[in-house]
Amino acid sequence: MEKEKLAAEQRASGGRAKKAKNSCQEVRDEEEQVTTAVASDRAQQLQGMAEKLSLEIQGMSNYKQLYSEIQRIVASSAVKKDDFKNTLLEALKREGLETELRNTVFHWMRSQRLDKPKEQANVYGADLSYLKKAQMQWERRIQKSLNSMCNELNIPLARLRSAADRDELAEKWNELSTCDFDLGQYRPLFAPKDFLEVLFSLRDPTFKKQPNELNWEFSHIQIKVKTLAQLRDAYEELSRGEPLLGVNGNVASSLGHCPNLEAERIHLGEKVLKANQAPVAQEFLKRGCPRALRGRLWSLVLGSVVRDADADYYDELKAMVLQYDLMVDKLIIKDVQLTASNDDQYFVFEDLLYKTMLSFSRDSEVLPSVTRDKCAGGQVIHAVLQGKPATLENTLVFPPSGVIPFHGFTMYATPFCYLYDDPCAIYFTFRAFYLRYWFRLHTVSSHEQGIVAVCLCFERLLQCHEPELWAHFRNLHIPPVKVVFKWLMRGFSGHLPPEQLLYLWDLVLAYDSLEIVALLAATILSFRKDNLMQVNTVHNVEAVLADLSSIKVMPLLQLSLLRD
């Protein structure tokens, strides 16, 4: 029975096939394509794919380590010259490197899936370039306010750190809260509400507004988003009504030797970890993750397991913080102070967060991922070190990560403090999560995972399934997105209690999509409909929605996804 379950997870991870695009299936296909070079009609195509893959793998962060491991095995006595192929494959398997290779292909596939400008999203064949223009304008605006803040405060964007400063920072690296930063004059460059204004002003230039139509709807933006029926198909495990951890861990287990569902999930989860296969881990997360396994499972799915080289890289980032004094440092510290330090769920992690966020700003590996997105703007600022000639070596991308922080940016990192003790583990899993999902929540783009699509999805869900509530908001002239936007933009971080937030982010990872965030927002409104119908001002609407401490994510989502 238990074997079957695991096999089912594995099958699901490999074989959900055909119907929808399933990355796991693609992985299997790809692997086969790579390993078995068969003479078929597809041979040419396969060859091309294999070449591309082997080329691109060389650019992946774990390539060097993988390569030297394989070298070591090739040179070992386990591999025989006369039966090279078989003995090599045997040895790779034995040493767990085959799994390592499979996982690498999986991560490559996943990155391919999101990087491709999604033809699918733009089914209407509409011209969405106005979104890209809006993003470029927005970037320019941020850069302008950054520059004017520098002028106002009379400080440079970048300079070398003075020796005294550097020493103090190095000494207090683990307790930066004790440093006396003078931040009185600094304020966040922008807040979610500023960004929302940008979104509200998006206009499809070819769209003719009806005379009596309000401005604020996203509906005219021609990005394809899922309907509730399509979400039910995509989130099959939830909509089928299967028992989920996070709903009730005490229900009976279908495995004879497990006293309840929680024990069953732990038992299976440990096996998944042991097998070390990323696609299986991703599949496992769909039915709710036991607390004690979550950190390791997330790292596995995201490929962010910390290796020696990563620890060294993390140290380099620290060295860069010590070397350069960047104007964003103050904004970062200010943001931690304004958010996590004041939050009774995260204040204990204040010092960890300073380190994490400062290091992140220096991480040039972040830059390509956030600028490569073809749907977004991707302009960067270059800063010349103060007092140096403007030569190439004195010029740096500002900040090196390319990400300019805003009010609440820290909240993308805070939940990871509950998962890991090791700052390095926090850093790499946060970074992987951010690069896969969160950066799209503060960028205007036509991407199917972008904030515009998320807002649109929310709006459609509410309009179709809570028409009364929708009309109520309309009568009050309150755009519904306005009251949920801060949830959406932060992926609910800081709004849900940590435990519930982690369940939500399990699902983001498991289904590799942000749609669930939009669905949860719509579900909460629907859940509080009776109270919302009784209030008539933005202020009171916000009061009804202010406290999410009683929200239980898994049951609520399952309820809304269950077929009638």
């Binding site: 004790t178 607390r291 769920q345 890991y420 435990e499």
Partner: protein, 351 residues
């Protein structure tokens, strides 16, 4: 008092809540169990070490036990001790010592004829837990609420919404910081005066979040063991005082338990407070204390809401709200009589 009256104190609650009396009662309880040959009183390696009943730091009452203290001190002269006046609270009069000479100096000054008040006061001196569990580099203690509706038979309930109180300053065991009370004392009344005190969260983290953090980073088994041990030490502190308590049926009482967890995840009972603070420092604190009072009232009253001494004090599950049953000796006894086999293996565990 009439049959329909109830009161929120036991007459001699100080047996539990005075630092010196608590220690005395626990020491006697251990001796009694040992004399009975109860397996709970089993001793571990080293003199004076109990395997299961070692849940308070080694403590002596001064000046009475001075010689015993010196003997213990000599066994490990490098350890730190904490001095607390028996009759005070909120961190008043507390200091740390790491040398016998400092204690001698203090006692000389205390006997100062110009300061006759000090001589009357008795102190407890306890081994300082110098390896507390740190989160984000900071020391914290737990404040848990325990409601007692009867001491004989013992009926006790634990409030699930306790919290951790964090120091505002990083933990540091160096000698220079020995006198810095912001490092060592977790009392809100002390920390509130620190420069770093934040009035939005008040240095308080919920026990649920502590649990989430520990389970995620340390694992489920060790976390469950820690919380089971916490319940264990509360139950035995209560059993230690039960025989001397005036068990009036009109009474109930809610105590504030202060517990420190060390870095091996062993809980230590530091102190029990009568009348724990019900004022609130933050919004969440207010919500919590509101629930606490509401749940206490619903638990201590029969379902019709009218106090009645004849009521058997067995509240329904709903009436318990956020409280969970720690122990009800009466129910346990009944259950045992009805299902004798069920109790065979675990027999004696709670005795």
């Amino acid at each position: 008092m009439g049959d329909n009256q109830t009161i929120n104190h036991f007459p001699n609650h100080y047996e539990l809540t005075r630092k010196d009396l608590l220690v005395k009662n626990i020491k006697r309880y251990r001796k009694d169990l040992e004399r009975e040959g109860n397996p709970l009183a089993e001793r571990g390696e080293g003199p004076g070490k109990y395997l299961h009943l070692d849940f308070i730091p080694v403590t002596f009452v001064l000046p009475a036990d001075y010689n015993m203290f010196v003997e213990e001190y000599r066994k490990s002269p490098q350890s730190t001790w904490i001095m607390k006046p028996c009759g005070k609270s909120q961190g008043a009069g507390i200091f740390l010592i790491n040398k016998l000479s400092k204690l001698k100096k203090w006692s000389r000054e205390a006997r100062n004829p110009f300061n006759p008040n000090l001589t009357k006061e008795s102190y407890v001196i306890s081994r300082y837990i110098d390896n507390p569990l740190l989160i984000g580099g900071k020391k914290f203690d737990l404040r848990l609420y325990v409601l007692i509706t009867s001491f004989r038979p013992l009926k006790a309930y634990l409030f699930k919404l306790g919290f951790c109180r964090f120091c505002t300053v990083k933990y540091d065991t160096s000698i220079q910081e020995l006198d810095n009370m912001y490092v060592h004392l977790t009392n809100v009344s002390v920390q509130k005066h620190g420069e770093e005190y934040n009035s939005l969260h008040g240095g308080k983290l919920s026990v649920q979040n502590l649990r989430l953090y520990l389970e995620s980073t340390r694992g489920k088994a060790v976390t469950e063991k820690l919380f089971a041990n916490i319940s264990w030490c509360i139950v035995h502190s209560l059993k230690a005082v039960a025989p001397v308590m005036a068990n009036d049926r009109h009474c109930f009482e809610c105590y504030g338990y202060d517990i420190i967890i060390d870095n091996k995840l062993k809980p230590w009972l530091i102190e029990v407070n009568a009348s724990p603070s019900l004022t609130s420092t933050t919004v969440n604190d207010r919500i919590l204390k509101y629930k606490l009072i509401d749940n206490i009232v619903s638990l201590v009253l029969p379902s019709d809401g009218v106090p009645d001494v004849r009521w058997n004090k067995c509240p329904s599950q709903e009436a318990m709200g956020n409280f969970e049953l720690l122990i009800d000796e009466e129910l346990a006894y009944q259950d045992e009589r009805e299902n004798p086999t069920k109790y065979k293996s675990s027999h004696g565990k709670w005795k």
